[in-house]
Assembly symmetry: C2
Homo-oligomer: 232 residues x 2
């Protein structure tokens, strides 16, 4: 994943579905990115793989949280939409003052998604760490990535150019779809099983099914629903 001083969006972005929430309760949904290890990597071109370049980077920085802009929002609303973190920005600037997620280049990371009830009456702007109760954390092996300041691999570059609308200007219209393209179009980008607030605990990986059918109840819409417009 590209990181820059000014901050760069992730592509593809983290997108999840959630179930098992109480439709009437209010929740915050947030994301952070944690290191897989403390190793620095380098990409070996001729063998097309990442190798350990150096070990033990010190200076562990407490990860920053990105709170989903729809927060806080009712369980009902969270559950009926895809929750997309497409505005998260990654930076390598340790002095960043724009609340962006700070990472080191040439390292491996894993995004996490947190779902927390609002009514655990902690003032989110004052606590030092995530509350230990009323929070569920999810992550997926499929979303692990390596940070770079410039792409190391032609296939990744092509993937981004072909899939990211903002890179359309670099697309090569003359060429037929290659092997990679074929793989991409059938690849299951994300598990079809929604995050289950009731079933999973902290830092659990998904993949197998959860239970807890979604009770898609519905408080009657009121004239003032627009108070939280767009519907939230």
């Amino acid at each position: 994943m590209i990181i820059t001083k000014a901050g760069r969006r992730m592509f593809p972005s983290v997108r999840v579905k959630v179930k098992g929430l109480d439709p009437g309760k209010q929740y915050y949904v947030a994301m952070d990115v944690v290191p897989m290890d403390s190793k620095r990597y380098r990409y070996v071109y001729h063998s097309s793989q990442w190798m350990v370049a150096r070990n033990t980077d010190h200076s562990y920085i407490t990860p920053r949280f990105y709170v989903h802009p729809d927060s806080p929002c009712s369980g009902e609303t969270w559950m009926k939409q895809i929750i997309s973190f497409d505005r998260v920005k990654l930076t390598n600037n340790e002095m960043d003052d724009k609340g962006q997620i700070i990472l080191q280049s040439m390292h491996k990371y894993k995004p996490r998604v947190h779902v927390m009830e609002q009514d655990s009456r902690v003032n989110l702007s004052r606590i030092q760490s995530l509350p230990s109760e009323g929070v569920k954390t999810f992550s997926f092996k499929e979303t692990e990535f390596t940070t770079v300041t410039a792409y190391q691999n032609q296939q990744i570059t092509k993937l981004k150019i072909d899939r990211n609308p903002f890179a359309k200007g670099f697309r090569d219209p003359g060429r037929n779809k290659g092997i990679l393209e074929g793989i991409l179009e059938t690849y299951p980008w994300k598990p079809s099983v929604p995050l289950d607030f009731k079933t999973f605990g902290t830092d659990t990986q998904s993949g197998s099914g959860g239970s807890s059918p979604v009770t898609s109840s519905g408080g009657a819409p009121s004239p003032l629903n627009s108070l939280l417009s767009p519907p939230c």
Copy 2:
């Protein structure tokens, strides 16, 4: 002010400063637009003024609220920034389902700003009207406007073209600044006295001073301040 089926931003937009809030408490800030009367107007070009065209339009629609996207937010944060409603959109489509503010063309309106404490434990998505306590409402004569689907007055058109960045393409670079331009540049667009949550009651006009100096206290910034990023 232009209104369209798809929704049109206001220009200039409503912008306020607030003081007298409890820095530690959480507040919602919202805006709505209420009719000045139930009259329909027409613009008489040769006398350059709006005349009553017809009286008593029935079908009073409950105004929609636009909640400022930073809501909820601490009093401390609200008070240290200009609160801008530049993303509000006005529409003449009574069937609008995007939460936009619905108005009738050729009528006169007045924007209002509401500041309310969060802890009045009403679920905002379920109540039928604004709570009667813990809410302060402000409005300003300077912000009254008449709705149109096309400008009726060349001076207004020129004003918008000259001041709205998105209308830059229509600017006439050859012409010197006219009389209107001169007036505009010295006009006090908004009162310099911030809204005082403690002093004013419901639907009060500003203009004279309020008391209540702002105690710009400051809870020490915590690592998790970014939980509400951008700073809020």
